[in-house]
Amino acid sequence: MKRMISRRFMVATSMILCYALLVLGRHTTRTLGSEESPPPSFEKDILPILAKHCHDCHGGDRQEAKLDLRTLSTLVRGDPGSSLLVDILERGQMPPGKKNKLSPAELLRIRDWVKAGAHAKEKLVALPPRGQVSDKDRLFWSFQPPRKPRVPVVKSADRVRTPVDAFLLARLESKGMTFSAEADRHTLIRRAYFDLVGLPPSPKAVRAFLDDGRKDAYERLIDELLASSHYGERWGRHWLDAAGYVDNRLFDGDLATIYPNDGIWRYRDYVVRAFNEDKPYDRFLIEQLAGDELVDWRRAAKFTTETLDLLSATGYLRSVEDHTSEPQYGIDKRYDVLFGVMETFSTSVLGLTMDCCRCHNHKYDPLPQRDYYRLMACFEPAFNVFAWKRPQERFLADVAPLERATIDQQNAQLDKQVSALQALLKVADKAKDVAGIADLKTRMGMLQAKRRSYGKVQALWDVGRPPASRLMRRGNVNAPGVLIQPGFPEILQPAGTTPFKAASAAGDSSGRRLALARWLTRSDHPLTARVLVNRVWHHHFGRGIVATLGNFGRSGSLPTHPELLDWLAVDFAENGWSIKRLHRQIMSSSAYRQSSRRPPAEAKTSVGERIDPDNSLLWRMNLRRLEAEVIRDSILTISGTLDRQMGGPPVELTTPVDGASEVKTSATGSQRRSIYLFARRVYPLKFLEIFDAPIMPVNCTQRSSSATVLQSLTLLNSEFLFAQSERLASRVLSTAGMKLRAQVRESFQAALSRPPRDAELSRCDGFLADQTRTYAADNKTREQAIRRALADLCHMLVSTNEFLYVE
């Protein structure tokens, strides 16, 4: 603790001192060559002394006796005799206590340094380049580059399908445990479908899988699902959470008003495509952070599909909440956007909670405040507070700038001609010249038809010259501190790394984001691959190897299986950063194929229950609730109404005063997958919100999975469930006919992908008969009564826990 504090203060005060020195330096003349030996260096000789003896109590955060080393009140350059600091130290008044005194040699060094003018080396970055992160800090697991450990040898070799199993079994066996039995095929196909495409398997697909006698039937199933275009929709959604994707700009505080962020959907589609194409993750990151720096789009005559794709990719950081469209706001709200960018970036990709060091050095991690602003400087040329683009202006056309200028010009000319005709039309109107009117109208129509338009791309690009970046004292943008150069967190770079160098960007751009992206995707980066494989793991097992997906720092969870995480991370980077390959590795393991069932109640004393009730060692599969979108999409699928069209502008929602928004039935595609519904920051579709779709004032690194009464009420009573159950019932009737047992069987297959057990069959059979009688007594025709009874059965099946959970 002591060590941490001293480092923190060392950083703070060294920056501050240097800054103060810099400022003063302008007014002081250096007395060069007056000393016989070279004067002590601040960085090498003085800073360590201050850090050791002084900074705990007189640093930036604590200022005992109101002594604040941010001011130079204690120093007079070149005159140790008039310098309070020297005086207090030499008289032994400070530091307090007998043990903490400065040695005579240290005192002399300080005196000499002040006498020589109290200079520090660094000019622009008024900071020592190193010295803020100690060797000990570097020992923490997530700050060391991952190394590929040897795959352990285990006793139950027969359960080892992939190295994943070996790592997991090694831990289990050390505790006298092993995997649970393999889940049955009904469970496996459902699990694979929900995990990879987010939709339930059709009864036909289930039958085909059950009947597939080939040895690699399961692997084939995985491949088939990975090749489905629904895969990109499912995994794109996970990524959009991390990126905080929304379709509207501004705050979204008013239910009734929507400010669409036109064209941001191209980013959503880019993400879906990237997953479907298995775009290597390193490339995926580079494009999202700096796609605009990979191609000289400014001077392009035409945008190729690739250019458009690269520009759309930078939509990654365009969902950050931005209030600057309102004229009242000044520069502070512009910085708020940058802070939002930092939060999204650091939690989604770096797995660090850097937000803390906006105001002060990180309390838990070796992340000095300086490093926050260094990283932020990479984004400042694009979010240039001195050449600010308000959110409604921050878009590009989906045609090249040259083309856009031509179109604008042509349109202006056409408009001019039209307005000239309009004047003539007035004259003709007055003269009641019927033929003339008709002729003018035709000509106007022809001109109008020649107008060309273009769409919007919400992209990111450098605006103007890169601004000077500064550290904001206490995170207050009205208190700018020292100048900062772009760079990366010191702890994530090997000691002695050369300073930041911008990458050479295509076209007129600073290349800072590209440099950041390249650094991020180095194969020895301590975090990038680990964070991603952990995220994928989380979505397969319901919990990450590191449980806190957005925090790999000291305050985050420790990995349950560090070797496994590292093995996966290194293997991932070594093999082309392929996420689909990673799915195969995980899903073909015995671990993934285990049953999720706990031992029956009588066997409560089973080893797993006793030793690892939380299942952190994965002796069974975890039971997981379906996400909001999957629930809605699955219901649409089994009722046969899902519209599988992909991509394009979002489907509109209603804005009723009671907040119970629905998909506009007038909108085309009202039955499309949820990823294509208009994503609002605060008011997502009510049904999705009820099932924990995140609201996005900031991005969401990890969803919660709640069980609320409102969910139960929605399942029991909402119109969506009634309507869809009725459709499902019609489907069932059309295949099963009027026989009750056949209806029950068919309903179970459709809703739960399995046949009913005997007890269920007879219970549901009886239910249908009773229910039909009740409806018949309620003045319904027999046909109506049967339909209603069956709809009720379907409704209840869709409301069961079994439907809502992946086993």
């Binding site: 985050g556 069980a707 609320t708 009464v709 029991l716 119109e719 826990n801």
Partner: protein, 479 residues
């Protein structure tokens, strides 16, 4: 055997298959007749169970009468003779404004103030009814906050920070204490049925706390809770049979997945849903109130009927054990009705005409029923207004000073705390921050604000974030 408490599962087996069985189990458990052994001990299975705080509680529940928009302190609560005297003169310093193009010219209040109650509390003529209960009010004139625009200041008042994404105070309180009535949510929101006020549902978001702690909207008209009743009504018998079937299918599933607390919680929720269909309807049924009470709240007057109904519902809700009730003002004249940038004179009169009588009625009614000791009532906006004129007759936002009212729950009646400068621009004496206010409210509920924390992304987060904010309990406000 007969002495052994029944386990939930035994009960299920013994009494077979009725939908009501699990509900019965819940009731027995509440009554202490049923062993808790079978219900998993993880709190997640009963996240709303009532539990004590760290300290002895002085109050059990909170009613927040939120007045969004920024009620004008110098026209309602904080008389400024000097401001009236220097009406039309420039403000000696350049005040911080929100809107562009404000002139820096002082504007005295057009409203008269008079002393009320034993404490001689000076209040504006616009609040005659609240003035009549002055001795129950604890008036704080020295509030200040950190941002001068609505969404951020509202977030500050509700969630303790100017940025979004954190849990609301009501969520924190539910998380800390659970709630006394297991048939209703812990945190209930009553808004104008015509729509949402500023920031809408963000105001009652549970942030990263479990969603079960977020505010649940109860509608003052029509169906009290979303999806409370089937969108397609069926014969009672058919409906009951469906729910029985569901209950049984879930029970069989649970047998195959023993000790999965989340599944058990979900089964309980279906029971609660069924119970809520009755309890929510009953508790919001104002026809059960006497005509005297209805008149007290102004239900017979179009100007006060809407807000009066919500205040009366708030009383009924806390009476039946709800922990936190949040009441929003009318959407007319606007969705931030206290935001008097122009037309201050008429605008304030209108909104006071809607809110004054029902607010006072709530206090009277609670007191009459002996509930005021147990219930904290807070009446506050997100910030105050400026002493200078905006346009001809308006006031802009002010984060440096505002006034609020507290009552009940151990807050000192007739107390006047803190003061502002001559013009009401800045809180001067005994300044109270929003964090101090939160700390004090939690304290009265028996919660130590320094210890109420939730581990989020590895960090122990707190509503008051005391190390950074220096939040302290304002004992001077307490009886």
């Amino acid at each position: 055997m007969s002495d052994m408490p029944l386990s939930r599962r035994e009960l299920l087996r013994t009494f077979g298959n009725g939908f009501g069985t699990l509900a019965l189990a819940g009731l027995l458990e509440q009554a202490g007749l049923l062993g808790k052994e079978s219900v998993t001990t993880r709190p997640s299975s009963r996240p709303l169970a009532s539990r004590p705080g760290h300290l002895t509680a002085k109050a059990k529940a909170v009613i927040q009468l939120f007045q969004n928009g920024g009620p004008s302190q110098m026209d309602l609560f904080d008389p400024k003779p000097e401001l009236s005297k220097r009406h039309g003169q420039p403000h000696p310093e350049q005040v911080e404004t929100f809107q562009l193009g404000n002139r820096n010219v002082l504007m005295g209040s057009p409203f008269r103030f008079a002393k009320h109650g034993q404490a001689g509390m000076e209040l504006s003529e616009l609040l005659p009814q609240l003035a009549s209960v002055a001795d129950d009010l604890c008036l704080v004139r020295s509030m200040h906050t950190e941002n001068n625009n609505h969404p951020f200041a509202i977030n500050m008042m509700q969630a303790g920070k100017t940025f979004f994404g954190r849990p609301a105070m009501g969520s924190w309180i539910g998380y800390a204490l659970g709630t006394e009535n297991q048939d209703l949510p812990a945190y209930i929101v009553l808004r104008d049925p015509a729509g949402y006020n500023t920031s809408g549902r963000m105001v009652w978001s549970s942030g990263w706390l479990p969603a079960v702690y977020q505010g649940t909207e109860f509608s003052a008209t029509g169906t009290p809770v979303l999806h409370l009743r089937p969108s397609r009504p069926r014969p009672r018998e058919a409906q009951a049979r469906s729910q029985d079937l569901l209950s049984q299918l879930n029970a069989m599933h649970l047998e195959e997945h023993p000790r999965e607390s989340e599944l058990e919680a979900r089964v309980q929720n279906f029971e609660l849903a069924a119970r809520m269909q009755l309890s929510a309807t009953d508790v919001l049924d104002l026809s059960r109130e006497s005509s005297a009470t209805r008149t007290l709240y102004g239900l017979n007057n179009p100007a006060t009927a809407g807000y009066g109904a919500r205040c009366l519902m708030a009383r009924r809700l806390v009476e039946s054990g709800v922990r936190f009730v949040q009441v929003f003002p009318p959407l007319s004249p606007s969705f931030q009705p206290w935001d008097n940038h122009g037309n201050l004179r008429d605008g304030l009169k209108t909104i006071c005409g809607h809110v004054d009588q029902p607010s006072a009625a709530l206090l009277r009614d609670l007191k009459q029923r002996g509930l005021l000791d147990d219930v904290i009532v807070m009446w506050t906006g997100e910030f105050g207004r400026l002493p200078i004129t905006e346009g001809a007759d308006g006031r802009d936002h002010n984060r440096h000073a505002f006034s609020l009212l507290m009552a009940g729950g151990g807050f000192k009646g007739g107390c006047i705390h803190g003061s502002t400068d001559d013009f009401g621009y800045r809180a001067l004496e005994n300044r109270v921050s929003v964090h101090d206010l939160h700390a004090t409210i939690l304290h009265q509920l028996g919660i130590d604000h320094t210890r109420l924390s939730f581990l989020h992304n590895g960090r122990p987060e707190r509503l008051t974030d005391p190390e950074v904010t220096g939040a302290r309990i304002v004992h001077e406000l307490l009886a």
